[in-house]
Amino acid sequence: MSVVVVEDLALRFGERTLFDGLDFELERGELLAVLGPNGTGKTSLIRILLGLLEPSAGRVMVEGCPPRERCHRIGYVPQQRVFDRDLVLRGRDLVRFGLDGHRWGFGRFGAEDRSRVDAVLAEVGATPYADAPVGRLSGGEQQRLRVAQALVADPVLILADEPLLSLDLAHQRGVVELLDARRESAGTPVVFVTHDVNPVLHSVDRVLYLAPPAAPQAPRSSGRASPALPATLAASSWAIGKPEEVLTSDTLSRLYGTDVDVLRVRGRIVVVGTPDDQHVHHVENGH
């Protein structure tokens, strides 16, 4: 049975359609990279998978249930948000939240829970700074703790939203390795939102590419004022498949409706010629 089933999913905000007709399944152990420029609904897709956002149409099932019923078993690694320096919270407290932070009361923190937290801290290599205030740790160390927090409840699915943002290369690799290790040991599938596929290129099984509407988009301000415009603007187009199928000049040119070149340079993928300059920019600036 597939861990995640996404059926005919659509998301609209007012007149703007982010995507529609989205269909895919996620098997055990798979890593799905969600790529595409800003504003195409990558983070919204994660929020739908978490059950925090209601789709406009279609449905999402995690292990055959609505996401809200499985939310305690979904590991979530968000964009790195630096903690306040003076925050009274140790690394191990942050990880423990992943285990029982949603439960009422003080909670009995038994030997079993403690050893579970210790084991996960060791797994991500965070034992040396587990008792330090999280606010005093580096971005890379904080992100390792976030991965540990996502792993501690033995998740059936991991959702990671730009988890590598503002990390240096070594820490990027470290986070990807941790997720790979979990996929290998427990078969937990991972949905990995990123603007740059290169750091995860060797781990990716499939790519979901969300591209902005192919048709030239009317300026949004006049879109509302003029009744002559169609009720819905064109939706993002999307493609899903193995990286070598999706990340090609042909596929991306079709998605964007304009000539796009996908170059492979020294084992890295560079996309050139998308209408949004930003994507190229990111890839070049990444390092």
Partner: protein, 285 residues
């Protein structure tokens, strides 16, 4: 003289009342500081004053009016669950208008001005047996609420995004903490007065959070500092007839300054020892 006073019944009542209020304020203060709600505390207490002044005008027990005023504001602020700058300005606007109404009520009130002064600056020695019983009941409600909400409250305070993803109801928690805070504030007003509520709800917690990195320990330390300041303040005011509120605020502020100094000197020690270590390593290499 001091010994004689200490044997008085009203002094015992005051000490017990102070202890109840200190424990509750110190405990909730940790969450208030962690969530950046200090300004909201001020607003809730000042509008508690407005409620009490209104109650005086219509001839109702001012404590009830105070409870009503602070609960109403707590509910509104909790439901809005605003963040950051928007919250500050919204609270400021509501606070100013509420105080304006309070001033109007006071001018309409024909009774003794002492009651109003007591509200503003506290009157711990005036606490009656019945009031002490009410303080204990309300305090028990707040502590039970905090105990029940402890984990999700902490989780959502430091990491709201992840907490929401894991099914923690953020808005309901926000309303709950504001209502508990309103109850606490209404208690603290009776001991230190409207203008000095922060000295029990914020200062001890702010000091405790400087002293430790462990959440549970911070909570205990905050309660301890609030207790020592309150009881110490009451005893000092027996020895020297200055206002109790002054002594309480002076003691809790002293704890805060001491905590900051300790934190600062510890940070310096750590920095110098690590640079020493670096020197030793390079020296050996």
């Amino acid at each position: 003289m001091f010994g004689q006073l200490l044997a008085q019944h009203f002094v015992h009542t005051a000490l017990w009342a102070g202890a109840v209020v200190a424990i509750v304020s110190g405990a909730i203060g940790v969450f208030v500081v962690a969530r950046g709600m200090s300004f909201a505390v001020h607003a809730i207490s000042e509008l508690g004053f407005t409620g009490a002044a209104g109650a005086l005008v219509i001839g109702v027990d001012p404590v009830l009016g105070m409870l009503g005023g602070s609960l109403l504001v707590g509910l509104v602020l909790g439901l809005l669950s605003l963040r950051g700058r928007e919250r500050d300005s919204a609270i400021g606007a509501v606070l100013a208008f509420g105080l304006g109404i309070g001033v109007l009520f006071l001018s309409l009130y024909q009774g003794y001005a002492t009651e109003a002064t007591n509200l503003l600056f506290g009157s711990i020695v005036g606490v009656s047996g019945a009031q002490l019983r009410d303080l204990v009941i309300v305090g028990a409600v707040v502590l039970a609420g905090l105990a029940a909400l402890y984990r999700p409250l902490y989780f959502s305070s430091v990491d709201p995004e992840i907490a929401a993803a894991r099914g923690v109801p953020l808005r309901a928690l926000s309303v709950a903490i504001f209502l508990l805070l309103a109850l606490t504030t209404a208690e603290a007003i009776q001991v230190v007065g409207v203008l000095l509520v922060l000295t029990l709800v914020i200062t001890p917690a702010a000091a405790a959070l400087r002293l430790t990195g462990r959440p549970a320990l911070a909570l205990l330390l905050s309660v301890a500092i609030a207790l020592v300041s309150t009881e110490g303040g009451i005893l000092l005011s027996l020895a020297k007839p200055w206002p109790t509120s002054f002594f309480i605020s002076a003691l809790s502020f002293a704890a805060y300054v001491a905590a900051r100094v300790a934190d600062w000197s510890r940070g310096r020690q750590k920095r110098s020892s690590s640079s020493l270590a670096r020197r030793v390593v390079t020296g050996a290499g």
